[in-house]
Symmetry: C2
Subunit: 460 residues, 2 copies
């Protein structure tokens, strides 16, 4: 029986198990969900134990880490598979067609918070390993590291990696936590953007004021916050923070050429999100802006009266969450410090401002010539029947940088999802076919990584 037959034959069970995991509301950003975080960890530890892995739940200063290993392939490479079982908050709830934590299938897609980011993609590896085990022993030694704080910046995972560095030692690290380029374009991702995330608080008066009694003479926290936000970018879409662009690696001609070949259409891209335009930094294509250029977005804003009707008040306070995506050459801590120093200098007269750093993540770029990266390409080709593309991702997996610096192993990013899955948004989903192909790709990948390790030894 071929691997494909095995995966097809056991898919129903694979889907039932994923649904069980998706029903657990493991939201890491909000302490109210702490019990669900524990339940999700226990579910994964239990499953991996039944697959003959030595599995355990390790406590951290925050949410727990699930670690499991099966080291039965002496001489073969060791593969560390990373994923995360925490999910983004489901807000705004009223935008969901079906409840975020009641997985539902519509038109071949699994709808649920975490369906693609990252429960569906991480669990595909669990089932990939299970499929391989029906063929005999695994071709490589496998370690699973499944964390619960990716969506809040993995504040405790670096300490965990340092404490368990020798135990986590691996020849290659595999991560599936993003989107491939397009439905018919299997992708190996070799770069990710970093992140600097801050919260800005603006105070005008020491209380909300009657706009009749004070309008015209009192500082308005919301108007001032709007001015600060506007001053963070110029009319070319460039970020005005002094030193922000220092040290950024320019795009190579090879990258510009490679990406120009990809099937991308701006009008189609805009249409897919219902946008009437694609504003951004002048002088770069959309793909270049998404993958190789830094950006700044306000992620949330609040102030004054948000209820029904018309309250004539001048808000004493207002706030906003602002994040910047970073590219190779930029350091999150430095960028956070720069914006903390800059905002007070552009705040209007009468504004008392506070800029709090929430979290950050290092941008990364991976060596395209690495033997394991090529093996990943072969595995994708075997499953999808076409040459994979090598792209970068606009998102951040802060921990990837930590893996490279602490575990000294190459990181291979093989994404089973799609942007159309709407991760982080209401109605997040994951295609049934992508889940099934993900399971098959995981199995094929472990086989290819085994061969890559073999040839590496032969040539030694």
């Amino acid at each position: 029986m071929t691997l494909k037959d095995v995966v097809e034959g056991t898919y129903a069970q694979a889907q039932d198990e994923l649904f069980e995991l998706l029903r657990i509301a493991s939201v890491s950003a909000d302490p109210a969900y702490k019990p669900e975080m524990q339940r999700a960890a226990e579910y994964l530890e239990g499953k991996l134990s039944t697959l003959g892995f030595t599995a355990r739940i390790d406590a951290t200063a925050g949410h727990p880490v699930v670690y499991a290993e099966r080291l039965q392939a002496p001489g073969a490479p060791t593969v560390l598979i990373y994923g995360h079982y925490d999910v983004q908050p489901p807000a705004p709830l009223d935008k969901w067609q079906t409840p975020p934590f009641e997985p539902t299938i519509r038109e071949g897609r699994i709808y649920a918070r975490g369906a693609t980011d990252d429960k569906g993609q991480a669990y595909a590896h669990v089932r990939g390993v299970e499929a391989l085990l029906t063929q005999g022993e695994l071709p490589v030694n496998v370690k699973f590291l499944l964390e619960g704080e990716e969506e809040i910046g993995s504040p405790n995972l670096e300490a965990y990696l340092e404490a368990h560095a020798s135990e986590l030692k691996a020849d290659v690290i595999v991560i599936s936590d993003g989107s491939r380029f397009a439905p018919d374009v299997p992708t190996v991702t070799y770069g990710l953007r970093g992140l600097s995330y801050v919260e800005v608080h603006v105070t005008g008066a020491n209380r909300d004021l009657h706009s009749g009694s004070y309008g015209g003479a009192a500082p308005n926290a919301i108007n001032m916050l709007a001015q600060i936000i506007t001053r963070l970018k110029d009319d070319q879409g460039r970020i005005t923070i002094p030193g922000f662009y220092d040290g950024i690696e320019d795009l190579t001609d090879e990258e510009r050429h490679m990406w120009a070949q990809l099937p991308h259409d701006d009008a189609e891209f805009a249409g897919s999100i219902g946008a009437s335009a694609l504003p951004g930094e002048a002088g770069y294509t959309t793909l270049e802006r998404l993958w190789a250029r830094p950006t700044l977005d306000v992620n949330g804003i609040w102030g004054g009266y948000q209820g029904k009707g018309s309250k004539t008040v001048i808000a004493g306070q207002a706030g906003a969450k602002i994040s910047m995506r970073l590219v190779p050459g930029q350091d999150p801590e430095r960028i956070t410090r720069l914006i903390q120093e800059y905002i007070p200098t552009i705040a209007p007269e009468g504004a008392q401002v506070e800029v709090v750093g929430l979290h950050g993540g290092q941008p990364v770029k991976i060596d395209l010539d690495n033997a394991y990266v090529r093996a990943a390409g072969r595995a994708l080709e075997a499953v999808y029947g076409k040459t994979p593309s090598f792209t970068r991702g606009g998102g951040s997996i802060p921990i990837v940088a930590a893996f490279r610096s602490l575990l000294k192993a190459p990181v291979v990013l093989v994404d089973f999802g799609l942007n159309a899955d709407a991760p982080h948004s209401p109605n997040e989903s994951f295609a049934v076919e992508d889940y099934r192909n993900g399971i098959l790709t995981s199995a094929a990948l472990l086989q290819e990584l085994g061969r890559a390790g073999q040839s590496a030894q032969d040539s030694a």
Copy 2:
């Protein structure tokens, strides 16, 4: 027994009754409070009936109107006393030292939503009438018109005035719904600003987007809303809407001189609201900006993620409540139309905007030489023992314009409150002494208005 003795002797009861009224959460902006609106109306109707008034509750398309009359002074003027029993929403609740609808006395002040705006000031007239009745029949015919929709722009009162124009006929209209200039400066207010209030909705993408996957190429509704807000004013604090300032009456030298004499100190004013500056339109003093110049303030803003932690999302939609205070020469409907036409022209590429008009109110100016206005000055002088000041107010009482146009009677504004009462803000309050003086002033005012009517007849 003098009126003063009567008011002193019955003050405890006057306070108990006001507390009962303040305990009723009559918030007109939120339909959830509808039952409390009815209870407040019934309380006032009942009280006025016990004073021998013919009182009733008239339904409207919105919240009911309380109307009561006592016409036992043939030949004497008829005085229509207007007030409102609805209050502003209490949000933000966590800023209140004691619950908004549990009136509490601290350091000589009554703390409660509506304490000064307008339950305390309106009820002072009820008790003023009660005090006069201990001396015999009222010196004037009195009509009470107490509405329940002032805080939402009195959407149904004009229709009510038209329907009851003959019944409401009066020689003078008295309103106490604002702030006198300072604790030791009794004030007759002869002008009020108008209002245009709109809500702006900005849409970028058709859903919230992952800032990693889309940051740099997708329109951000919050950033675009901030740009729109910023572009509504120039760096001199002037509103940029074309035609906005057309037709505005300039300040007279007399007004500039009269107001320059008033006890006002910018540093003290800023200190009273904890502000580090008093930004506003260049070329005008603070009092001129507050009373005789139009202004624009954002009253509320929302969009994206407002919860705990850091959600990396690009908001598909954002919104803001924006209001403009207007001065004589500006028409609310025209100004609302102007901003509705203007905002789309300053919206950034990629922004889909909608500007909804919420409500408006006409600015007004009252004749300083009117006999009843002079009578009001004498009543204040009698109670406070000093010459009153004639000022304008920065707030709006949209209905004042309707009174003048529909009832053709002069409107006398005698305010018992203070800005320090913090109307519309958390911890709104009303000084016990101001409530007591308000009762006394109301009684004295009705006597002076009677004399004014008499001399008017004598000179006839």
